[in-house]
Every structure is written in C-alpha cells, then in structure tokens.
C-alpha cells in the first residue's frame, strides 16, 4: 500500500463520513455545509486518481454552485435555523436498507462494467484537459451537443416554474 492509497482511503472515509452527517444532522444548513466536505473529499479522490479536470469541475460546479443553489433553496423556505426534529422523518431503518442496497448494486455494477477497463496511470495521463478534449471532440461530439439541449431545457423549465404570473 503506497502513500497514495492511504490518502485515497482517508479521503474516501471523509467523503462517506460527511455524507452520513449530511443526512443525520438536525440543522438544515449544516446538511448543506457537510455536503461541501463530501464534495471536497470527492474532488480530492479524483485528484489522487489523476482525474485532474474532473476534480476541479467537482469543486467549481458542486462546491461553488450547487451548494449555494441548495442554500438559496433552503432560504426560500421559512426554514428553522436551529436544531429541528422535523428533519427526522422516522424512516431510518428504511433509509439504511435503501442505502445498503444501492451501495451493493453500484459496487457490483461498477465491478462488472469496468473490470476490464484498465488505465495505466504511470505512462499516460488520461485526466488532463487535453486528453479529455481530444476524446470529447473526436468521438463524443453528438452527446456533447445533446447536453446543451438538455441544459437549455433545464434552464427554460426553471424559468417557467419560477414565474408565478405565467400560470
């Protein structure tokens, strides 16, 4: 086990631990802030696995934008800032079962799906911007363009939903 593996494991533990805190904390805003830690740890894991660009996308989009979006969402409500027992919906056992099942499914699927996919990190770097750009604009142009349609649809629907006078 190299130092890199240790760091990866530590970051994984941090991500999982803060993830648990996101769903167990009694303060709504704290949940959003723990999510920052989770996303940050995930970004660190991407970094260690040499997925440089993805790691910083994780920070820029998730920490810099999604968390703030969530906070704005919380602030739209008349939410209590203090501790609140309303947050506990009382279905913990169901949640634990759901979580474990999802985890097992994902691990199994990822194991099957990518067991043959092997990247040699010592020779070539696959996570750089140039490598991703090459792959994206050589092989995956159509999904890339479709993404913009998806984003446009999301944008338009958000605008429609936020305008009360329209209805």
């Amino acid at each position: 086990m190299t130092a890199v593996d240790v760091v990866l494991l530590l970051l994984g533990a941090l991500a999982a631990g803060s993830g648990v805190l996101v769903v167990t904390t009694r303060r709504l805003v704290h949940a959003a802030l723990w999510l920052v830690v989770t996303f940050g740890a995930l970004a660190g894991m991407y970094l260690v696995m040499t997925a440089e660009l993805v790691a910083w996308v994780q920070v820029l989009i998730y920490v810099g934008a999604v968390v703030v979006l969530l906070l704005f969402g919380i602030m739209l409500t008349r939410a209590p800032t203090g501790r609140s027992d309303d947050l506990d919906s009382g279905n913990r056992p169901a949640a634990v079962v759901g979580g474990v099942v999802t985890c097992v499914l994902l691990v199994t699927l990822a194991g099957y799906g990518f067991s043959s996919a092997y990247a040699d990190l010592d020779t070539g770097r696959l996570g750089t911007a140039r490598a991703i750009g090459t792959v994206l604009f050589r092989s995956w142009v159509l999904p890339f363009e479709l993404l913009s349609v998806l984003l446009l649809a999301a944008l338009v629907s958000a605008i429609v939903l936020s305008r009360r006078r329209e209805s």
Binding site: R27, V36, L53, W56, V57, L60, V67, L71, T81, A129
Partner: protein
C-alpha cells in the same frame, strides 16, 4: 530528501508572499486612496510615511476581544474566516512568478484549478452570513453569493479566452505563449476579467454585499478581533490573487522589456502591483452600483462581451495556426 527541501522552500516562499503582498497592497490602498482624496493617509506608524500602519493594525486586532453572538451558530461562525481565506492561499501556489519553474507548484490545469478554488470562497461568506444570526449579515451573505454567481461566469469566460489563445491551461504555459500583440487581441477579455474580478472581490463599486449604509458590514457585521482581521486579509489577498491572475493571463507575466530571464520576478511584481493599483483606483473613482444594476451589468453586459471575445479569439487563433 532533495525534493523535500525544495518543496519546503517553495511552500515558505508562497507563504511569505501570501503574508507580505496583501500588506503591501493594503498600504498602497491607504496611501493611494488618501492622496486621491487630497489627504496624506497614515504618517506616523513606523516613522517613514506610516509604513507600519497595517502591522500596528494587526497588533491591535490581535488584542481585541473575540465576541461570538449568543444566537450564533458557534462552530460555523468560527470556521467561516478559514474558508474565506485559505482558497486565496491555495491559488497563490500556482501563480508563476518567473521563468524556469519559479512557481509554487506547476499544476498542469493551473488556470482551471485557480478558478475552481477561488469559487470556494463564496461558501465562507455565506457561512459567515448564516452563522451570525443577524438579518443584515444574512442579507449580506445572500448578496455575496448572488454576486459571485453572476460574476463568476464572465470571469471564467474571459479566462478561457486566454487559455484558447495559448492552447493550454497551465499558467506558466500561457505566459510562455504570450506575445505583446495579445494585449490588443485580448483587450476585451482583460477588461471583462478585471471588472468581474473586482466584483468577485466585493470591492467598490461592486460592494453591495458589505454596503455599510444599507446592511452595516454584510456578512462580517458580527465579527471582531482576529477573525475580522482574517476576513480583511482575505480581501487583500484576493486583490493580490486577481491581480496576479490578470497579469499572468493577459499582461504577459514575467515578460518585460529587458532581461526576462534574470528580472522576470520583478516584472511580475511590478505588473501585479500595477493591476492592484488599478483596483484601488476604481474603488476611489466610482460610486456603488445598485443590486439590480449589478446583476443586469453582469448578465447583459459582461457575459455577451466575453462571448464575443471568445468568438474573436477562436477565429484569430485558427487563422494564424
């Protein structure tokens, strides 16, 4: 072992720059702003033209009582200055100062890294605003978030323009590819980057989030003593970082009229301080924008300009290559 020593030297130098440059910029702001208003500014601390004023301020802040409001969310309240300050330190690591690896760490995706890390700072301000349990602080925190979201986009778009021109995301690589005629080619991007950068720093004329006449001091209202000083340090470190990025992306970094190899670090410092001066200059010259003007300006002014610059950059780049 050799690597460890080298890393240690780099870390120490980055850290020294992180502590020193904000003080220099702060002192420059004291003096430049004073003279622009027909005043002298600090004259006593340290003897010569008040050079030690900020050191004295630091000593003062360190001796002040640290007050956490009774209703505050204590942990978040205490943690907020860390989150506001540390991203700027991390960005400073990748800023190249001179040729030949004179940089804290030559990260391959340096530009993207810098932009991503800078965007974390918003969480610190929102945390401060929420944890203070103060309506004005919360309003300020929301305004910070809204403003950073609005101006992050033109900032990133104009930075992409420099990356496109150079064909790399490495900050050192961008400086290496830079040519003087880029000043004209990338002028629009430079302007957009500077304006958006000043807005990101919440400096006047974009200081809605801390508008003292409306919401006291925004998210920092309840802070005292050293924690307040850390927020101030974050502001000046932010000026240094934005100036350094503008220098590296658009002004050619270490490239100067003569002796790039020997005096590169000096050219970088001069350019950074000049851009910081412009930031201060803008502060003194213009009144504050209104919140609605602020958002309008970002979305309907800067974003289209930045997109136009992208188109220009793409066409010229393909034409010359």
């Amino acid at each position: 072992m050799n690597v460890a020593v080298e890393v240690a030297v780099r870390v120490v130098l980055v850290f020294a720059a992180f502590l020193l440059f904000p003080l220099v910029v702060g002192y420059m702001e004291h003096k430049a702003m004073a003279h622009m208003q027909g005043r002298l500014g600090p004259m006593y601390a340290g003897g010569f033209h008040g050079w030690a004023q900020l050191v004295a301020d630091g000593v003062k802040f360190a001796q002040k009582e640290d007050i956490v409001p009774a209703d505050a969310d204590r942990t978040v309240f205490k943690l907020a200055p860390w989150i506001a300050l540390l991203p700027y330190l991390l960005v400073l690591v990748v800023v190249p100062v001179g040729p030949g690896g004179l940089v804290g760490s030559d990260v391959d995706a340096g530009l993207f890294y810098a932009l991503a890390v800078m965007s974390v700072g918003v969480v610190g301000a929102v945390m401060a605003g929420y944890a203070s349990a103060n309506k004005f602080a919360l309003l300020g925190g929301i305004r910070v978030a809204a403003q950073l979201m609005a101006y992050e986009l033109p900032l990133v778009l104009s930075a992409v323009s420099a990356a496109m021109a150079a064909g790399t995301l490495s900050l050192g690589g961008i400086v290496g590819a830079w040519r003087p005629w880029w000043l004209a080619w990338q002028l629009l991007a430079l302007v957009v980057f500077l304006v958006a950068g000043v807005a990101e720093l919440r400096r006047p004329p974009f200081d809605m989030p801390v508008a003292d006449s409306e919401i006291i001091f925004g998210p920092y209202t309840e802070y005292t003593g050293l924690r307040f000083a850390l927020f101030l340090l974050a502001e000046y470190a932010g000026i240094v970082v934005v100036s350094a990025l503008a220098t590296v992306l658009f002004l050619g970094g270490w490239k100067g009229p003569v002796l790039d190899a020997q005096l590169g670090w000096l050219w970088t410092c001069v350019k950074v301080l000049f851009v910081a001066f412009v930031v201060i200059w803008l502060r003194v010259s213009f009144p504050r924008l209104r919140e609605d003007q602020l958002q309008r300006f970002a979305w309907m002014g800067l974003v289209p300009l930045a997109l136009a610059q992208l188109l220009l950059t793409a066409i010229v780049k393909v034409a010359i290559s």
